[in-house]
Amino acid sequence: MAMLKVTDLIVNYGVIQAIKGVSFEVNEGEIIALIGANGAGKTTILQTVTGLISPKSGKIEFEGKEITKTPAHKIVTLGMAHVPEGRRVFADLTVYENLIMGAYTRKDKNEINESIREVYQRFPRLEERKNQLAGTLSGGEQQMLAMGRALMSHPKIILMDEPSMGLSPIFVNEIFKIIQDVSAGGTTVLLVEQNAKKALSIADRAYVLETGSIVLDDEASVLMEDDSIKKAYLGE
């Protein structure tokens, strides 16, 4: 059974139809990439899945349970985390407080502290800046924080919206390693990326989105070799 199953999803902004009947599945343990040009609707899909936007129609199931109408904060409790586009860190909270917020749904203090240690290990820069207000971090530092914050909830599945945006090359590699790590640790990943090459190189399967519809889906390795994909998204 698919861990996350989206069926015939339609999303409107006012009268504009941004998502035009999209269906896809994410199985437990997979890394799924969702690629597509600017404005294709990737962000919209992620936001709809986590309940920030309500769809016009369609069905979203998580671990066999329908969550189409479940409010976002409940979905999080079910074990889904979301690294939002544009980072959206809490600017007036310190780095540390941001991380603690990430563990909002968790109770055990010791476990939370343990997770914080893990995050600091992954992103030493965050530990250096733990008492700085998040709003004054550089763009890349904020991206790390957003990622760390999402990991704090120990999610079963994590949705990432362009996690490598604005990161230095060394860190882009790092981020993709971290994603693989996270996945190896048993967390399922749904990844939206502009860096399609990297995304496909770590993904199991991928969906290609064009103006609100899925036009292709296959094993990542197959898509990497697909000529049209190469031309349109890999810049080759």
Partner: protein, 295 residues
């Protein structure tokens, strides 16, 4: 000696009003800090609190302690209801739209109470009987002391709550980015309701102390203290809880001193003049953080 004494007395007068302003300002600042809206109806919730106490004690003859608790409940429920009905549908609108709705709510509460309780002021004796304290030749009334204590305790409790507790942190997160907070698993609606509940409970307490000090009920009684408290909150740095307290007390003292030694007619002008000067020097109020926008 005489002048010193008179100044001291006027300072205590300032403390008397200032502590009430401070208490009201706490609620104002709390709601502002989290819901990012100027709740213009805050003053009128104070009025409702005062009338509620009057109904419970004066008309129904309940024990004052029970009446006080009920009053707090009534105001909290009212605060939550107002938020749900009038502010929540405007979550995504401009903050100004919410401000205007709040003004509408303020009119509504005033006119409702005008219809129910009529325009004639209703006398209502204080339920707080604390003897006044003599310090040298100075006399500090019991109610002033009670108000100061309540305000200080509320301020400390509120500061700790917002900064140290999980719910408080959630509130701050909600105030910055509701969507992101939701993604952390925070129930945004519940958090905002809680904010209004606490803010309104503070208004209820302010109403109780206000009526105990002035002993007269009027449908419009909340408007002026509401505005003054708003000024106090801004003076102290809106959103800053200790700032609200400081602002309230300073406002009370400036008012009292300028009435006594300069001119009553110009007292408001002086208060606002000082406010303008303070803000020009410190654009985010006395204790407010200056938010630097990272570019």
């Amino acid at each position: 000696m005489d002048l010193v004494n008179s100044i001291l007395e006027q300072l205590i007068n300032g403390l008397r009003t200032g502590s009430i302003y401070a208490l009201i300002a706490l609620g104002y600042t709390m709601v502002y800090g989290i819901a990012k809206m100027i709740n213009f109806a805050h003053g009128d919730i104070i009025m409702v609190g005062a009338y509620a106490l009057y109904v419970f004690v004066g008309l129904l003859g309940l024990h004052p302690v029970i009446a006080v608790l009920l009053t707090i409940v009534v105001c909290s429920v009212l605060g939550i209801t107002i938020e749900k009905v009038a502010y929540k549908p405007l979550r995504n609108a401009t903050p100004l739209a919410v401000l205007i709705t709040a003004i509408g709510v303020s009119y509504l509460l005033q006119n409702l109470s005008l219809l129910i309780f009529k325009a004639t002021p209703i006398p209502f004796g204080s339920i707080i009987r604390v003897p006044s304290v003599k310090v040298g030749s100075l006399n500090i009334s019991g109610i002033t002391i009670v108000t100061l204590v309540v305000t200080t305790v509320s301020m400390i409790a509120l500061t700790l709550f917002i900064n140290k507790s999980k719910a408080g942190r959630a509130m701050r997160a909600v105030s910055e980015d509701k969507g992101a907070a939701e993604l952390m698993g925070v129930n945004v609606n519940q958090t905002i309701s809680l904010t209004f509940a606490i803010g309104s409970a503070l208004a209820a307490v302010a109403g109780i102390l206000f009526i105990s000090q002035y002993e007269t009920l009027l449908p419009t009684m909340g408007a002026l203290p509401g505005i003054k408290a708003f000024v106090a909150a801004v003076l102290g740095g809106i959103g800053s809880i200790p700032g609200a307290m400081l602002g309230g007390i300073i406002l009370g003292i400036i008012e009292s001193l300028s009435k006594a030694y300069i001119s009553t007619q110009l007292a408001d002008a002086i208060v606002f003049g000082i406010l303008v000067i303070v803000l020009l020097v410190k654009p985010s109020g006395l204790l407010g953080k200056l938010k630097i926008e990272k570019v």
